[in-house]
């Protein structure tokens, strides 16, 4: 197994763990953590593809990872704000209790 394959395996595993967490957890914060894992799996991909790629002088992959880290931070800020506000309204962040909209 080459280095690139090992990194891709790691990132796929991380993505799968994150997705499983996001889909099965009932707590909104834990779902958010799952989403962050998925985003970081993609970042590992970017860095690995850049490192083992043909042209390491162009730092496109690193730039993409830096941008996506800052976007993920913004996303966490917005998400936590929405979760806090939802908690103030219904005093729970359990997703199973969020069932007043149906149809």
């Amino acid at each position: 197994m080459t280095g690139l394959q090992a990194y891709l395996l790691l990132s796929s595993l991380l993505f799968a763990i994150g997705l499983a967490g996001a889909l099965t957890r009932r707590n909104a914060i834990l779902v958010l953590i799952g989403i962050e894992l998925m985003l970081n799996a993609a970042n590992i991909n970017f860095i690995a593809f850049w490192h083992y790629g043909p042209a390491t002088t162009y730092i496109t992959g690193v730039m993409f990872a830096i941008f996506s880290i800052s976007v993920a931070a913004a996303e966490a800020a917005v998400g936590l704000a929405i979760i806090v506000a939802a908690y103030r309204h219904s005093h729970t962040i359990d997703l199973d209790s969020m069932n007043s909209l149906k149809g």
Binding site: L19, I35, A42, N43, N45, T60, F64, V78, I82, A86
Partner: protein, 501 residues
């Protein structure tokens, strides 16, 4: 590629519309916080929304007069006649949404509301003007993060929060899928430019298959195609009317354009085929299946909705299915058909939300059962609603009919001899016949059913709804005009296209 070394003047000339919007957004918020502190809520919201729409009009005027052209860094930021048209259309839709928000009193933070709408518009303007994965990702996130907050803006309603939380969690997951897909595309080509990626892809590798599915999940969420549509009914029902209208209109335009570009340029080497009985692996069968599922599920679930907003949401899923048909055809003509369809669809949807927001202010609900008496209480409004819904159903001479007709023709003409998409077009026509039933059910409630109490017949005008009323009439006029005279929009579109392909 015009030049490798970008100059700031080039960047400036292409990004001035966005800069105008950012400036207007900050101005609107500071005026709201400083000058209008003692004004009433409806005055504040009307003033900031009108200021915001003036900013949009200024940006559109800049694009229409200066025609910013160019190509920065091999597709990072583009300007051509087609992109100018798209940007003007997006700005026009944003103006309509802002006018719908003018005078509304669901929030005290009107300055921030206008700011977020304009920030989302900046994201859309960048989104249609780029062919680079990094800029696509950042602008999609700018758009999405603004939309999550806009959806949660009604602090009084717990439904608004609940819908926004679901929207955010689904959106976050889809963004992660999109980013993962982008990382694989970067790995395949070692570049983030769509044309470079297209040049590096020859045939379908397993890695590319995963990338295609990830991108389809990420963008399928943005355009509310089945099976990634779960957020749509909740958001349409519970978000404030201007936010819901914005999510249903401008964001759709930008997302469909970027979806089309990604598929037709980035995945050009792995098309596959969706001919009935002869599926070949590639991106086309993926999109074709999503389209077919959206048409069937959207139209059939919409039948049993009792809330008009939820009904519009499921019909939006169905319309997303029709529009994905243009993706599977991926010809210049189908791109023109897609733009015409999504713009007229957005205009009709904003109009329907404008009528609904006024009706909700009067009766407090959007259920079909509460509509009777509308035609006698508000003859103009209910006539506008009829125009919007019939246009969505595709009745001539309204814009929706020509949009559907042109889209189906474009899909069939993509390869006239074999007609690989014939089965999808037949499915689209059959399911759009189903859609007529539920649109007419709304109109029957507002026109024919007699109301139970006579209170439904007396007009209960609420203050601060004059601007949305005018907006309804204007949008209805636009829908009729574009339907009766489609070349008004199509001719400039078709003239602009050869420079793209």
């Amino acid at each position: 590629m015009s030049s490798i070394q970008p100059t700031y003047s080039q960047l400036l000339s292409l990004a001035i519309p966005q800069m105008i919007l950012v400036g207007t957004a900050l101005l609107a918020m500071s005026i709201d916080l400083l000058a209008l502190r003692r004004a009433t809520l409806s005055t504040r919201s009307a003033a900031t929304a009108i200021l915001g729409s003036l900013g949009c009009a200024a940006a559109a005027a800049y694009i229409a007069i200066i025609h910013p052209n160019g190509n920065l860094l091999g597709g990072v930021l583009l300007g051509n006649a087609f992109i100018q048209l798209l940007q003007i259309a997006i700005l026009a839709l944003t103006i309509a949404v802002l006018l719908l928000a003018a005078g509304s009193t669901f929030t005290r933070h009107v300055g921030e509301y206008v700011l977020l709408i304009l920030m989302a518009t900046v994201g859309m303007l960048f989104l249609v003007a780029t062919q680079d994965l990094l800029v696509i990702f950042v602008s999609i996130e700018l758009l999405s993060l603004s939309l999550y907050t806009l959806a949660a803006f009604n602090k009084q309603s717990r439904f608004s929060w609940e819908a926004a939380l679901k929207y955010f969690l689904f959106g976050g997951m889809s963004a992660a899928f999109l980013l993962f897909g982008f990382s694989l595309l970067y790995g395949l080509s070692n570049s983030t430019s769509l044309s470079e990626i297209g040049a590096h892809i020859h045939g379908l590798s397993p890695l590319l298959a995963i990338a295609i599915v990830c991108v389809a999940v990420g963008l399928g969420f943005k355009v509310a195609a089945a099976p990634f549509h779960f957020w749509a009914p909740d958001i349409y029902q519970a978000a404030p009317a201007p936010s819901a209208a914005f999510i249903a209109s401008g964001s759709k335009v930008a997302s469909f354009i970027v979806f089309f570009q990604l598929a037709s340029i980035g995945f050009a080497g792995a098309q596959g085929s969706a001919t009935w009985g002869h599926f070949v692996r590639g991106w086309i069968p993926v999109i074709a299946l999503v389209a077919a599922l959206s048409m069937v599920l959207g139209n059939f679930v919409a039948i049993r909705q009792s809330s008009v907003r939820r009904l519009l949401a499921y019909s939006a899923v169905a319309h997303a299915g029709y529009m994905l048909l243009a993706l599977t055809a991926h010809t210049p003509q189908s791109l023109a058909a897609l733009v015409y369809y999504v713009v007229t669809y957005s205009a009709a949807t904003i109009g329907a939300f404008a009528v609904l927001s006024i009706v909700e202010a009067q009766t407090g609900s959007d259920r079909i059962g509460d509509l009777p008496g509308l035609s006698r209480r508000e003859p103009v409004l209910s006539f506008c609603l009829a125009i919007f819904l019939l246009s969505l159903a595709g009745i001539p001479p309204l814009a929706g009919f020509f949009g559907k007709f042109y889209l189906f023709v474009a899909a069939l003409q993509s390869s006239p001899e074999s007609m690989p998409l014939l089965w999808l077009v037949i499915l689209a026509i059959a399911t759009s016949a189903v859609s007529l039933y539920y649109y007419l059910r709304v109109l029957k409630a507002s026109y024919i059913t007699t109301p139970e109490s006579s209170a439904a017949l007396t007009s209960g005008r609420v203050s601060g709804e004059e601007i949305p009323r005018v907006l309804c009439v204007l949008l209805a006029a636009a829908v009729v005009l574009l339907g009766a005279w489609p070349s008004l929009l199509l001719r400039p579109l078709l003239n602009a296209l050869p420079r793209v392909f």
